[in-house]
Symmetry: C2
Subunit: 320 residues, 2 copies
């Protein structure tokens, strides 16, 4: 679509998982709400001034990457080795072009690097030190060392995870209780519609606390954690291993395309029924070409918010 | 499905691309045909003796990884730096479990490591040296250095690619002619149905000659290069960047599920119409739960073959 309108919209999330009211302090809740609000504000400024959905989702995600309460960029969780390895993806619904990076260590804003990959690389998915060399070649400054990402609360989470792992030592992974996986993760993401009718999606994450062996999750995988075309844009959060197996984002797009479902129907069916029955936990923020927003999640909570062109705006955390 | 039958089937590919009769020597053609035949034989032996589709596709792919004519394992192409970085994925249609590895350097049979990830890791997608540490932890021997993968014909291909790159120096990537990308790639893959009615898919590749920056292609991406559920199993080959954007494998599955198309109809529509219009070149081998096989490709040729339980077998290379 190329017809200009005054219609635009943005929706963002800061992760889904075990987010219970009884464990939430007023301070923390406030920090999350402010983070979501600032992110939407950055995205909305781009959209209001006639910018692209692609620029808007990048701006929105960068704000959350810079905010240490979220598991992305500055607040990225620790790997098993006490390091940080981040994944990100941005996709332009107008062209279905995307850029993705995985397991990058020294990039303050992985979504910015994903965008650089989209704009400047014939390859679309780059990993590890190779992705960092690409960043430097294109003039992006890396952080000097990974201490940029050090935060006390993430360090505590790693120590807890290591302790639990020790208690479970010797058990095959299939017999482990993975219910605590939901506490170890978090992701940030944004989807937007711009005044030219184009859609875009962006997702960024530090992955899973205590992850090992160069684990890649769903975030940088198009069709799993991130997807955008000319009908919808989706950013997912939750247990990445399950999101990849279920092709969560693309399944929503497929139901809209092949079953003529609305965005709300498709997102609801995929997240609340299919994904749940599959044993998956997580949620999405999704938007369609008319600016309709859906934000279903099957976890206790999801940090989320949306803003429409008419000023309607909502920020929420819990499911009730 | 758990009802045993005498029905089984396997289909394999050794890559699609610019494969023209006039450039094919009798010797090379013979080598490819023998490679495809040996691969199918290995898979069929597993299936005939009542083994799983999962074991069959792994066995079939390992034969092609060990055969230096194919771009996977032993015959993997060179990266820009004169190294080898391989990707692989195996998916069990019965459970939708998968294991994937990307950018591994010292693994003779990447598909074997992908299977180890499926069987032994709580994470499903591992990359780089992390994936190699996982291999060693689980007793898999790595090759001593990357000279195991050195072959003269791949080295020549790298020199040609570097020469072309030099000629194109300075041009932005969007203005480059990517038509020669099709010559720089290749993948091997297998899909199978076992006598218990279960499906599986496996894909392995050395990626693209002269690739850089830790480039990951479609091969290890579930829903793009590899996919299996209880209705179909698919392994794709072609320009990976486009296969990922189109979610080639999952789109075939989605059309079967949501549009009630047959495997042949869905595979034909996705590969020969949608993917072609999208600007993508490549092909797939696909199989459904009744043992029907489809092998459409929109390139000049695709090394391919299938064998059914009744002994029907075919090997082909060109499109005519």
């Amino acid at each position: 679509m190329t017809s200009r309108s005054n219609n635009f919209a943005i929706a963002v999330h800061g992760g889904a998982g075990v987010i219970l009211r009884q464990f939430m302090t007023e301070e923390r809740e406030q920090a999350y709400r402010e983070g979501v609000a600032s992110s939407m504000k950055a995205g909305c400024e781009v959209l209001k001034s006639g910018g692209t959905a692609l620029d808007a989702v990048q701006a929105a995600v960068m704000v959350m990457e810079d905010d240490s309460v979220f598991n992305a960029g500055k607040g990225a969780v620790y790997t098993h080795d006490g390091d940080h390895e981040m994944d990100a993806c941005v996709m332009d619904g107008a062209t279905q072009d995307f850029g993705a990076v995985a397991a990058v260590r020294l990039v303050a804003n992985p979504i910015k690097l994903a965008r650089l990959v989209l704009d400047e690389s014939p390859h679309v998915f780059l990993a590890g030190t190779g992705a960092e060399r690409f960043a430097e070649k294109h003039g992006m400054k890396l952080v000097e060392d990974s201490s940029y990402f050090d935060t006390k609360h993430r360090w505590r989470q790693l120590q807890q995870a290591l302790k639990r792992e020790k208690q479970n030592a010797g058990k095959p992974h299939t017999q482990l209780d993975h219910s605590d996986d939901r506490e170890k993760m978090g992701t940030v993401g944004a989807v937007a519609l711009d005044i030219n009718g184009n859609l875009a999606a962006a997702t960024s994450t530090g992955g899973m606390t205590n992850k090992r062996f160069g684990r890649i999750g769903d975030t940088p995988i198009v069709g799993a954690g991130t997807y955008a075309d000319d009908k919808c844009a989706i950013s997912a959060t939750g247990v990445g291993e399950m999101i990849m197996r279920a092709m969560l984002s693309f399944d929503i797009a497929a139901l809209m395309e092949y079953k003529n479902m609305s965005l709300a129907e498709a997102a609801e069916l995929v997240v609340m029924t299919k994904f749940k029955e599959f044993g998956g936990s997580g949620g999405v923020v999704a938007i369609d070409a008319e600016g309709n927003v859906a934000m279903p999640f099957n976890t206790d909570g999801m940090y989320r918010g949306y803003t429409l062109a008419d000023g309607t705006s909502e920020i929420a955390i819990f499911g009730d």
